[in-house]
């Protein structure tokens, strides 16, 4: 259905307006991280790197950054392993059964994470585990592993069954065939899943807040800083965090969209 030119122009302008709206906080943070003024506002007072310098001398901040990186890597690794195993296991299932299982596994993504955070806190406590980075990693993996499974499953769907059969035919048992043939073919999906789950974990605040003990992750540290008044270094760390997230997300999209030349 075609639309008159006026409507088209108006709506297209609207799209770009919305894009601006969505990117506004990100742009503002990055821009004002270089602002001389303590208060992030206009008029512009001058360019400075002070806030970044202060950031790098703030050991608490650096520690929490390191913690977030470690947790992110752990969550990424765990999610990818659990996700691959799940996706491979689902290959032979018919659509209905598979969808039911997927739905069940994915439900944590639709559930308020406050509920997850609180629940895991109470549950872990009851089995003797304290709040810790390990607890945070466990909590994050709950929603990250199904996501990884979905991404890897989509990738595995493009793998013709005959490739595995050929590997078996030539003498590989199932594990060998998975390692030599399935995994290399699934690699773009695995890589993208790793990047996305890392990013999600790196940015996640709510579950981390419930489950962090003495060692906190970066978002929890930022929360603490926010409670104690205006702090321009927040813009600096915010800018860094934004750049990391967007880069990793973009990278995962590039990896996923790279068309493989089919073997036939």
């Amino acid at each position: 259905m075609s639309h008159p030119r006026g409507v088209r122009l108006l709506l297209t302008a609207y799209v770009y307006l919305m894009l601006l709206f969505l990117f506004l906080p990100i742009i503002v943070t990055i821009v004002f991280s270089f602002n001389l003024d303590r208060f992030s506002s206009l008029p512009w007072r001058g360019f400075t790197l002070t806030w970044y310098e202060r950031l790098f001398s703030n050991t608490d901040m650096l520690d929490s950054l390191k913690n977030s990186l470690v947790v992110g890597l752990a969550v990424g690794a765990a999610s990818v392993v659990l996700g691959f195993s799940g996706a491979y296991g689902l290959r032979n299932w018919n659509a209905r059964r598979k969808n039911l299982f997927m739905l069940a596994m994915i439900s944590p993504l639709a559930v308020p994470w406050m509920l997850l955070g609180l629940g895991i806190l109470v549950f872990l406590n009851n089995i003797g585990l304290q709040r810790s980075l390990l607890a945070v990693s466990i909590g994050h993996t709950v929603f990250a592993a199904p996501l990884a499974m979905m991404i890897i499953d989509a990738r595995l769907a493009t793998l013709p069954r005959s490739l595995e059969e050929a590997a078996w035919d030539l003498g590989a048992n199932r594990i060998r065939a998975v390692w030599d043939v399935v995994v290399p073919q699934a690699l773009p999906g695995v890589a993208a899943a790793f990047l996305l789950t890392f990013t999600l974990s790196f940015d996640e605040f709510i579950i981390a807040w419930f489950l962090s003990g003495f060692d906190v992750t970066l978002p929890v540290r930022i929360w603490g800083m926010m409670r104690s008044g205006v702090n321009p270094t927040l813009n600096a760390i915010g800018a860094i965090v934004f750049v990391i997230s967007i880069s990793l997300t973009a990278l995962s999209q590039v990896i996923l969209r790279r068309k493989e030349v089919p073997a036939k």
Binding site: G171, A172, A263, K264
Partner: protein, 359 residues
């Protein structure tokens, strides 16, 4: 002892009966073809032999030993898949070497065997390339080399030439046959192309809707089809309903409304009762067109289709349209009255009941 023996296997997919009591015995060194239309069960049978499906009942023996409990990686067979199934992330060399690596051969031996295998299929220089950089025909050969290098007892081929263009196909058919003969390798080959099967096979097994229609050499099957289906599938044009009258020596005598009394070789097993319906078949290339009155029946030439090497003529006799294949220039024009003549021994009488002839 047969290289492969399939004993009365049956396989259902849901409610569909894909393979219906199929039996087959393959001798060493033979080129055996499973031929039939799509969905007839030939590929399923092949996959059951290879270990990629399990039969619901019946058994498979490979090299004399029961193979039913063996997964594909323990069977002494190797399959060339329809889509070649070359591993895209490995080079041609690594692809061919895969089976050898699984058998834990020393590297040096592997390298040597890979070179030999690629030489065998006439691709000596592509070792370090990836499958995506090869043409369809080249990929097909790599798949072949990969399967042959592990020296399987039997090579299984699932319509391997299906994706190639006509010229490459014809070329590959000859090469495959030569390779098979040279190596003395037992081949079980699946195709829906009857010309291909006739060209390459030592033994053909025609399948239809999961059942075996006929097993025999190409000439047996082509010249003496045992059922209407086989005759039709192999391109016999003139399948005429007739009534069985009796036997005259080793020829069957039938009566047909418009053509009168006809004789032909009886191909099916049981002799039917007089009066039963049978099918009379005379192949287009065995009929001669002549001047009216000079042959067995008269008719009118109604159409002619030029097909390069042969010309297909259609002559109407009463309500029947008979198809005749001729070569060279014709002396008759469309609309002329002509006569048709043939030899009894070139005709076939097929019982309506589908017979199961043994292998």
């Amino acid at each position: 002892m047969f290289d492969v023996e399939v004993r009365d296997i049956t396989k259902r997919f849901g409610r569909v009966l894909a393979v219906d009591h199929v039996s087959l015995a393959v001798e060493k060194g033979r080129f055996v073809t499973l031929l039939g239309p799509s969905g007839c069960g030939k590929t399923t049978t092949l996959r059951i032999i290879g270990g990629f499906e399990t039969a619901d009942s019946g058994s498979v023996l490979i090299g004399g030993t029961a193979a039913d409990e063996l997964p594909p990686f323990q069977r002494d067979t190797s399959m060339v898949f329809q889509d070649y199934a070359l591993f895209p992330h490995m080079t041609v060399e690594d692809n061919v070497a895969f089976g050898l690596r699984m058998r834990h051969l020393p590297d040096k031996e592997i390298r040597q065997k890979v070179v030999e295998a690629l030489d065998l299929v006439d691709l000596p220089d592509v070792g370090s390339r990836r499958p995506s950089q090869l043409s369809g025909g080249q990929r097909q050969r790599v798949a072949l080399a990969r399967s042959l290098v592990i020296q399987p007892l039997v090579l299984l081929l699932d319509e391997p030439l299906g994706a190639l263009d006509a010229k490459t196909r014809k070329q590959m058919q000859i090469e495959l046959k030569n390779l098979q003969k040279k190596l003395g390798q037992t081949f079980i080959y699946v195709t829906h192309d009857q010309e291909e099967a006739l060209t390459m096979s030592d033994v053909m097994m025609i399948m239809n809707a999961g059942r075996v229609e006929q097993v025999g050499t190409p000439s047996e099957i082509y010249e003496r089809p045992a059922s209407r289906f086989v005759a039709d599938f192999l391109g016999h044009q003139n399948l005429i309903a007739a009534k069985f009258m009796g036997l005259d020596g080793n020829l069957a005598v039938v009566a047909q409304e418009e053509l009168g009394q006809l004789r032909g070789v009886f191909t099916s097993g049981r002799v039917p009762l007089p009066g039963s319906d049978v099918v009379f078949s005379v192949r287009g290339e065995n009929i001669r067109i002549g001047a009216p009155g000079a042959g067995l029946v008269d008719g009118r030439l109604v159409s002619r289709v030029y097909r390069g090497a042969i010309t297909r003529n259609t002559v109407r006799v009463g309500s029947l349209e008979i198809s005749i294949e001729t070569t060279g220039p014709q002396s008759f024009a469309i609309g002329d009255l002509v006569s048709l003549d043939w030899q009894d021994r070139d005709c076939v009488v097929i019982g309506e009941e589908r017979q199961e002839s043994g292998g």
